[in-house]
């Protein structure tokens, strides 16, 4: 675990840059992290995905996989890859300030 400063506030992140404490997250931090990921402009569709991720995390304790995002976030898998080209589940989880999605075994 390490500390990172986002939007002027220190937050706890793991080695891969995922938030350890989702409650430390703010929307300004999302904008800043998106830039680090090469996404200069968060569109309303990006926000739709980010808010969906946080809601899923609150309800289920883990972030959704790409497949669940495609089924339930209102944004198709194809569009998700256009929005987050480096991999929707991971990148959107990072920007949304939730821990790395657990996935399956």
């Amino acid at each position: 675990m390490s500390t990172k400063t986002l939007a002027g506030t220190p937050v706890d992140v793991n080695d891969e840059g995922f938030f350890e404490k989702p409650e430390q997250w703010t929307e300004e931090m999302a904008t800043e992290m998106a830039e680090e990921e090469g996404i200069d402009d968060l569109t309303p569709q990006h926000w739709q995905v980010i808010h969906f991720m946080r809601k899923e995390y609150d309800e289920k304790g883990t972030g959704p996989t790409v497949r669940v995002l495609g089924k339930s976030s209102g944004v198709s898998v194809k569009e998700l890859y256009q929005l987050f080209p480096k991999g929707p589940a991971k990148v959107a989880a990072r920007i949304a300030g939730i821990p790395k999605p657990r996935g399956c075994v």
């Binding site: 669940v68 089924k71 890859y81 399956c104 075994v105």
Partner: protein, 413 residues
């Protein structure tokens, strides 16, 4: 009062639970009804061997009814839906079944239609799956005809049943073309959405090394968006391509489709939200789930189903007696990984402990994460155990449902 227990699905989990609960309760104490759509129980691990001519479809199928003990009511029909509020199951033949306890053991449905192009031109000609009996049989014919070119093996995304089966398939393919003396004319590529050969790091390393030794190419983090059978290529969502002459695909999996038709019973993918330790659903206290039908974070495997059954048998009894449940299941899974040339690897793990090296079940035993003949024999023997020990609900001597650290060691220890 006679308890009414209804079990949906007479595959691995449904059959074990029916037979086990019949031992818990006399017929006067509980009625047990099991529902499935047909009378063909497939030994699914055998599907891996069909394409290579090592077993045949008729050798791995038995009547469902004959695996189910006396005093259990077997009802053959398609399940339409569950009315969670009313504690009632509707079957498509018009029957309704009321229950005090429902056990969902309906496994997974394969969803090839959810991947663009997968069931389009080329499906069952140069694009196959071995996850169905028909697919495995058709693939045998295709492999027999194959005399050189690119074979690609890919699972679209997790969860899938037996997540190591596609890897076993590539190892077997390597062996198969060696045997035919044309291995040098065949390129074998394993394409995975994961960032390595397996989900967990230590096993991913061992399996990755084994693939390199066997000259199998590994393509990682590939999320298949389209299977173009005609053009012979897999296309990922981020627009990478892998060409093939023959593709072996494990389609997306979801829960049984009736789960999605039953309000509140399933999650987004049709799996039943289930407590990972007690196996009680979080949907309603009188609904339990076992095997592939649950959403719990362990492998979808027969061994998992078998270990769960022992805990579930006890928890159903506790629930009906009004006692608190025991949260005992630890995610234990135990899988043989066939690697060809009459050898296999063994992995043993649970929610907290990834597959490690060592021996199973204790210091003296089968080697873990290492190729051996003994493991191969274990894998073959498993079929006998399946029909004669697992399904009848017997415990296998010396093998406990919870994972043990005896015989295991972490790297560097």
């Amino acid at each position: 009062m006679t308890h009414r227990i209804v079990i949906l699905g007479a595959g691995t989990g449904g059959t074990i639970m029916a037979n086990r609960l019949r031992k818990t309760y006399a017929e006067s104490e509980a009625s047990i009804t099991v529902v499935d759509r047909d009378d063909r129980h497939i030994y699914q691990p055998g599907l891996l061997f069909v394409p290579f001519g090592l077993t045949h479809p008729e050798d791995i199928v038995r009547p469902r009814k004959r695996q189910i003990h006396k005093g259990i009511d077997y009802h053959q029909s398609e399940i339409d839906r569950v009315d969670v509020e009313a504690d009632r199951v509707h079957l498509t033949d018009g029957t309704t079944l009321d229950y005090d306890v429902l056990i969902v053991a309906s496994g997974t449905d394969l969803l090839p239609q959810e991947t663009e192009g997968l069931t389009g031109p080329g499906w069952m000609e140069k694009v196959f799956t071995f996850y169905t009996l028909e697919g495995a049989a058709a693939l045998e014919a295709a492999l027999t005809r194959f005399d050189g070119g690119r074979i690609v093996v890919n699972f679209i995304d997790l969860p899938i049943k037996c997540p190591i089966a596609p890897l076993e398939f590539v190892f077997m393919t390597d062996w198969y073309f060696h045997e035919r003396g044309i291995r040098d004319r065949v390129d074998i590529t394993y394409v995975t959405p994961l960032d390595g050969a397996f989900t967990k790091p230590i096993a991913a390393q061992s399996l990755g090394d084994l693939m390199a030794e066997k000259h199998i190419e590994l393509v990682t983090e590939f999320n298949t968006g389209e299977v173009d059978g005609e053009g012979g290529r897999l296309v990922s969502y981020d627009e990478r391509e892998v060409p093939f002459d023959l593709a072996v695909i494990v389609p997306l999996h979801g829960g049984a489709s009736f789960v999605e038709r039953s309000p509140a019973l399933g999650d987004d993918l049709g799996f039943v939200p289930t407590d990972p330790h007690t196996l009680q659903s979080t949907v309603k206290p009188n609904i339990f789930a076992i095997g592939d039908a649950t959403n719990i974070p362990t492998s979808k495997a027969g061994s998992v189903t078998h270990f769960e059954a022992e805990i579930l048998q006890d928890n159903v009894r506790r629930f009906l007696a009004g006692e608190p449940l025991e949260g005992e299941y630890d995610g234990h899974a135990n899988c043989f990984i066939e690697t060809g040339f009459k050898k296999a690897l063994l992995i043993d793990f649970n929610y907290d402990t990834e597959p490690l090296e060592g021996h199973f079940p204790a210091q003296v035993g089968m080697p873990l994460l290492k190729e051996s003949r003994l493991n191969h024999l274990g894998k073959l023997m498993f079929q006998w155990f399946y029909w004669h020990s697992l399904l009848p609900g017997r415990d296998i001597p010396g093998i406990r449902p919870d994972m043990t650290m005896a015989g295991k060691h972490r790297p560097g220890e």
